[in-house]
């Protein structure tokens, strides 16, 4: 080689530069609140009111210990976990059954029935909380995890059905057909063929629904009153509301926030592909 210099068009560097600047800006904007939350939860309370700001305080678990001491924190964690798991389970079972019916049993009018179900997800959750309060009360499900599980599962079902229907439709029917000809019962078809084959879709919707349930505020806030059924999302609002505007214990509030957020972030880090596939699967079709 004899020193030939390649002249790159100006757009080569500028194009890449713009992309990288955008990338840095994007990363900063997305992660700033997360950093702030973590920093505030691991800082001694006194560090939070120091000027100039302490960006990297010496970490301490004091705030989390305070939480466990002063509120039924572990109970709240347990409740959130049970609520999220139960909701996920109920939603998946109910939606899978219905999705199978919509995907495999077609007749004139069956798609209208399906669209009625799916479009019901346009209903805002608040629109029905008043009657739901009375209904749950009369069913003695007020202030129970079972009650809020049923209500939220119902709210999450339409979207889950929508996604599962499009997944099941992509499964070739020949496998089931062969099984039917071989005399398999419906339960066997479900258990041996359908569930294993649609596992990616079930995992995806399971993750999405778990995250939705774990994050849910309105239903636990409206329908639970005692620590045996309140969730973390309710507890964070209580800590906030319990203090005057000038004395908010931000270190505690952020500690609860971190407890709620970090598990979700970890989940998302490990299953990004699956979740995105589920979230976009319904929309793109």
């Amino acid at each position: 080689m004899n020193g030939v210099r390649i002249r790159r068009p100006w757009s080569y560097w500028w194009g890449n530069g713009a992309v990288y600047v955008s990338f840095l800006f994007f990363t900063f904007v997305v992660l700033l609140p997360v950093y702030w939350m973590v920093r505030s939860s691991l800082a001694p309370a006194a560090d939070l009111i120091k000027i100039p700001l302490v960006y990297f305080p010496t970490p301490t678990l004091r705030n989390f210990i305070t939480l466990v001491e002063q509120v039924p924190f572990l109970e709240y964690v347990r409740n959130s976990l049970i609520f999220a798991l139960a909701t996920t389970l109920v939603t998946l079972v109910v939606s899978f059954l219905a999705a199978y019916a919509f995907a495999r049993i077609r007749f004139p009018g069956s798609s209208i029935i399906m669209w009625t179900l799916v479009l019901s997800m346009a209903l805002p959750d608040v629109g029905t909380i008043v009657p739901l309060y009375r209904i749950l009360s009369s069913l003695r499900l007020l202030d129970t995890i079972a009650g809020i599980t049923l209500v939220l599962s119902s709210a999450l079902a339409p979207f889950t059905v929508w996604v599962l229907v499009s997944f099941i439709k992509q499964v070739p029917y020949e496998i089931e057909e062969a099984a039917i000809i071989d005399g398999a019962s419906l339960l066997q078809i479900f258990g041996r063929i359908l569930v294993p084959v649609t596992k990616p879709a079930l995992v995806t919707m399971g993750l999405i629904n778990f995250i939705n349930a774990w994050n849910n505020l309105l239903y636990p806030l409206s329908f639970t009153t005692s620590p045996s059924s309140k969730t973390l999302s309710v507890s964070i609002t209580e800590i906030f509301a319990g203090y005057s505007p000038w004395g908010k214990p931000w270190e505690l509030i952020m500690a609860v926030g971190v407890t709620m957020t970090i598990p979700m972030v970890i989940l998302v880090l490990f299953s990004q592909r699956a979740i995105v596939r589920g979230l976009t699967g319904g929309a793109i079709k």
């Binding site: 992660l31 939070l48 009657p131 309060y133």
Partner: protein
């Protein structure tokens, strides 16, 4: 070709339905009903029936604290529309929904273009894009409230370092509203970006090649190829986002609790306040009905827009 389970349904005119069904077809019908029963049961008890109840309750003065429960016809509605809180909530709800959806569409598209570009770190970018979606909305609300705290929050602190001004976000109604809108965008635009990304990835590359050969520059390619092809998706997502954000509650509850005063209150918050906090069930139901009507109107407009947007190439 997908098999259908109902071979016996094709029948001659005038023939009664059930007897023309083979036994297999009858069994399929029953199976269908059994399979959709749990889902429909849930929906009917927690959505369909409660909506009817809401409408009925809006015609009563049910109040658990005052122990009243009489049918009062339409009397709640003038009270609802004259209520200052509801008026402010209605106007801000619409303001929030319109501005945040427009911003989310734009920002979502920009982020999607970024995530579609080829650069080292793209996988990382795509992963952290899920964080705003994964973080609980109420936590995001509190996190930003603290981030924007006028005394010890990071952003006002930096604003002060840079420009010497004191930024007090939540005392002034206008800045509080802007804060709510922007945090809303932060929370939801990444999700839009994923949808757009999937759409962008579905555009055939040879369309771009052909355009490039014909001399179109990047902007041209975006405006005449990408945008029209992504438009149906945009409208669908815009529609969903608008309808969904009409019921937005958690963010406002955490960020401003509707304040200052009721400047950033939304309809959902008013329903919660009047209903779950003050137990004015009749009044709250009337507000709910107003919300449901707004949702229905917006939904209808959206469907009409959607019909008009089909693009073929």
């Amino acid at each position: 070709m997908q098999q259908t389970y109902a071979p016996g349904l094709v029948r001659a005119k005038g023939q009664p339905l059930l007897s023309s069904l083979s036994k297999a077809a009858q069994r399929r019908y029953v199976l269908f009903l059994l399979l959709i029963a749990p889902a429909f049961l849930l929906r009917i008890t927690t959505a369909a029936y409660p909506i009817l109840q809401t409408i009925y309750l809006s015609f009563t003065n049910l109040n658990l604290l005052k122990n009243t429960n009489e049918f009062i016809g339409l009397q709640n509605y003038p009270a609802v529309f004259n209520d200052y809180g509801v008026q402010e909530a209605l106007s801000f709800t619409i303001m929030l929904v319109v501005s945040s959806t427009i911003l989310e569409l734009i920002v979502g598209m920009l982020v999607a273009l970024l995530l579609n570009a080829a650069f080292v770190g793209r996988g990382f970018a795509r992963t952290i894009n899920l964080i705003p979606w994964a973080i609980p909305t109420i936590v995001a609300g509190y996190a930003f409230r603290w981030l924007l705290d006028d005394q010890f929050g990071l952003i006002p602190y930096w604003m002060n370092l840079i420009s010497g001004t004191r930024m007090v976000a939540f005392i002034d109604p206008v800045s509080a509203r802007i804060a709510v809108i922007l945090v809303h965008v932060w929370k939801d635009a990444p999700f839009m970006a994923f949808i757009f990304l999937a759409g962008l990835q579905g555009v055939p590359l040879d369309l771009y090649e052909a355009a490039r050969v014909d001399g179109a520059n990047a902007w041209h390619r975006f405006w005449h190829i990408t945008l029209p092809l992504v438009m149906p998706l945009t409208i669908t997502m815009g529609l969903f986002r608008v309808v969904w954000s009409l019921g937005s509650f958690d963010l406002v509850y955490g960020l401003t609790q509707g304040g200052p005063g009721v400047a950033t209150s939304v309809l959902a918050l008013q329903v919660f306040r009047e209903g779950i906090m003050f137990f004015k069930f009749g009044f709250a139901s009337a507000i709910s009905v107003v919300l449901l009507i707004v949702v229905a109107i917006v939904g209808a407009i959206g469907l009409w827009l959607f019909r008009r947007s089909e693009v073929s190439y």
